[in-house]
Amino acid sequence: MITCNRCGKENQDHYKFCLGCGSELVKPAAPAPAPSPPAAGLTPGPVVSPPPAAAESSALETARTILPPGPPSAAVAGELRTTSPAAAKPRGGIPWNDSPKMPAPIPAFQLQQNPLASGATPGPRVTAGASNGGGASVVTPPPVAAGRPPGAAAQVSATGPTPGPVTAGPAGEIICPTCGKTVQPGFAFCGACGTRITRQPSGPAAVAPPRTVFMAGATAAAPVAVPRGRLILIRPDGSEGGAHPLLDGENMIGRGQAALFDADAYLSPRHAALTVSAEGVMVRDLQSLNGVFLKITAEEALESGDIFRIGQELLRFEVISPPQPLEDGTEIMGTPNPGFWGRLSVIVGRDVDGSAFPLFGESIVLGRERGDILFPEDGYVSGTHSRISLHDERVFLTDLGSSNGTFLRLRHERIVPNGAFLLMGQQLFRLEFR
C-alpha cells in the first residue's frame, strides 16, 4: 500500500493517483529507464519494464526485455525481494502483488487508472450493502505463470520458453516453429510472431552459421501460410505489443500455443478457438477456466448467469424468480420482496461470491463514485462506468463511456467484428482481419 503524502489515504501499490484526493502518488523509489528495444525489424513479445534495481547487468536486462510476456516474475521475483518492495514497482499500470508469499504477477491487461476529478468526492448512496461493493483495499493480484517456479528463474531468462525444435528448410533457412514463417539465419527472433529461435547445439537441422546469408530469390522457400488476421496484444500502457497471426481455419489460443501466450497464468492451455470466416471471426470459448471476454460497444442483452467485468471487478448477474409454493402449498418465508428483479454478485473466488446487490427499478448505474452500486476502492472503475437496464422485459448492459471498458464473458461462441477487443486470461487483444 502506498500512503498519499497529501491526504494520507492508503492506496493499492499499482495506483498512480491517490483515490482520495487525486494527486499523483509518489513512489518511494524512482523507476529505471526502459531497456533499449531489440534490433529493429523484429517484433518481440511485449516489452516488460524491469524493476529499477540499478545493480543489474545490461546483459541480464536485455535478456529480460526480450522475454515474451513472462515472469518478470520468475526472473525478477528473487531480485525484487532483495531490494525494498517499493523500489521494485515498475512503471505503468501494472498491479504488483505485495503479498510476500505469492510470486509477482504478470502485467495486467491495459487498465488506465482514472485520476479523480479534483476535489470531487460525492458521497456514495449508501444502502444496505451498497457501500460494500467488491472493492478491496488490499489487492491480491494474480500470481505469475504456474509453470515457472522462481527457482528456475535463471534458466528461464537465459533460454526463454522452448517452443519446439527449430527446423531448417530445404535450403537451410530457418522455419519458425510457431508460425511457420521463414526466418533469416542469424536472427534470434521470428519476424512474424516474435518467437525466440533457439539454437539446437546438435540438432538434425543444419542451421547456417550467422555469417552466411541466403538470398531469398535463390532458394525454394517452404510454402508459408499467409495470415488472414492478427491478434494484437495491447500492453498495460495502451501501446501495441506482439501480434499472433490468425491463419485460415481454426486458430488455437492458449498457454503454450505460442510464445505470446506462454506466461499468462490465467490462460488455459486450450483457452479459445478463433476461426476466420467471411462473416467475421468466430470466437469459441473452449470451456476455459477464466473465460473469454468481449469489450462491449453497444447495448448487450444479459441473461441470468452472465458474467461481466468492469475494472478489476468480476460480476455475475442473476434473475430473481418469483416465489413458487411447494408441493404441499407451503410458501418459503422471507423478507418481502420490495421489487427486486435481479441480483449482482461479486465473484471473489472460484465458487465463492462476496457482496451481492439486489437490482430494482429500470436503471442501475455501476461506478466508482456516482451511481447505484459503487466500487469506491477500485481505481480502474470509472466514476460512472456501466448501466444495467430493464426494458421491454429484458435486461441489458451498456458501457457509459468508461476509460477501460466493460467486458462481457462469452457464453459459448460469438462472431466478432474487425477491431473487437478480447480479454483472455489477463491479456487484452485487438482483433484485426481482412
Partner: protein, 223 residues
C-alpha cells in the same frame, strides 16, 4: 378446547396470538398433553397462513414443562432472544421483516491453480470474517453484506446494515459479533419488536416467551 375452559389445571400454559399494534388475539389454553399447530392440521390451526406447513409444530409438556417441537416444518419456529444467543453458520434469524443468515468466511487459501496449472481470476476483496445474507420470500438471496471487522450492526439507520424501509425495525436493532474462536453471537440491542432466532428441533418455553411460526406471533404464559 379453545376458549375459557371452566378452570385451568395447575401448571398449565396458554398461548395468545398477538396481532398488529400489539393487540391480543385468540388465546389457546393448552390443557392436553400435546397440541399441534399448523395450516391444515391440529387444534391450533391457521388455514390462511401459507408460511405454515400443514403440520408445523407442537406444544407438549415434558415433566411438567412446556416445550415447543418443530414437526419438520419448512419455515421453522422462531423464538425471541432474551440474551446474546450463539448462532451456528447459516442459522436463520428475523429482524423486523428481514430474514437473515450469517455465514463465516471460508479460510483464504490463496490462489490455487487448477489441474492444468491455470489460476482463477477473481475480483479483489478485502479480508472479511463473515457475511450477512438476506433471504427473500420464496427462498432467493437478496442482498449480501461482507463484514468489515468483528461485528455487524443492524437497524434502520446509522448501522453497518440499514433497512430504512422496514417499519418494524428499530434505529439500532441488533448486533452480530464474531469472537476470536469464530463463534458468532446475536444480540438484540433493546429493540421494540425483538429479534427472533430459529430453533433447532425443540425448545423448553418460559413464561413471557414470544414464538413466531408462519406469520403468527404467539405469547407464552405459564402459570
Amino acid at each position: 378446547m379453545f376458549f375459557g375452559a371452566p378452570q385451568q389445571a395447575p401448571g398449565r400454559a396458554k398461548l395468545t396470538v398477538i396481532k398488529g399494534e400489539g393487540v391480543d388475539g385468540v388465546t389457546y389454553l393448552l390443557n392436553a398433553v400435546e397440541h399441534l399447530a399448523g395450516r391444515s392440521d391440529g387444534a391450533i390451526m391457521f388455514p390462511d397462513d401459507p408460511l405454515l406447513s400443514p403440520r408445523h409444530a407442537s406444544f407438549v409438556y415434558r415433566e411438567g414443562k412446556l416445550h415447543v417441537v418443530d414437526e419438520g416444518s419448512v419455515n421453522g419456529v422462531f423464538i425471541r432472544v432474551k440474551a446474546p444467543t450463539p448462532l451456528v453458520p447459516g442459522a436463520l434469524f428475523l429482524i423486523g421483516e428481514q430474514l437473515l443468515q450469517i455465514e463465516p468466511s471460508p479460510p483464504d487459501l490463496g490462489p490455487q491453480p487448477d489441474s492444468e496449472g491455470t489460476y482463477f481470476y477473481a475480483s479483489p476483496k478485502r479480508p472479511s470474517k463473515m457475511k450477512l445474507i438476506q433471504r427473500l420470500r420464496g427462498g432467493e438471496i437478496g442482498m449480501i453484506y461482507r463484514s468489515r471487522n468483528d461485528t455487524i450492526s443492524i437497524g434502520r439507520e446509522g448501522n453497518d446494515v440499514n433497512f430504512l424501509d422496514d417499519p418494524f425495525i428499530s434505529g439500532r436493532h441488533a448486533q452480530i459479533t464474531m469472537a476470536q474462536d469464530g463463534q458468532v453471537t446475536l444480540t438484540d440491542l433493546g429493540s421494540k419488536n425483538g429479534t427472533f432466532v430459529r430453533i433447532n428441533d425443540e425448545l423448553p418455553l418460559e413464561h413471557g416467551d414470544h414464538i413466531f411460526l408462519g406469520q403468527q406471533l404467539l405469547r407464552v404464559e405459564v402459570s
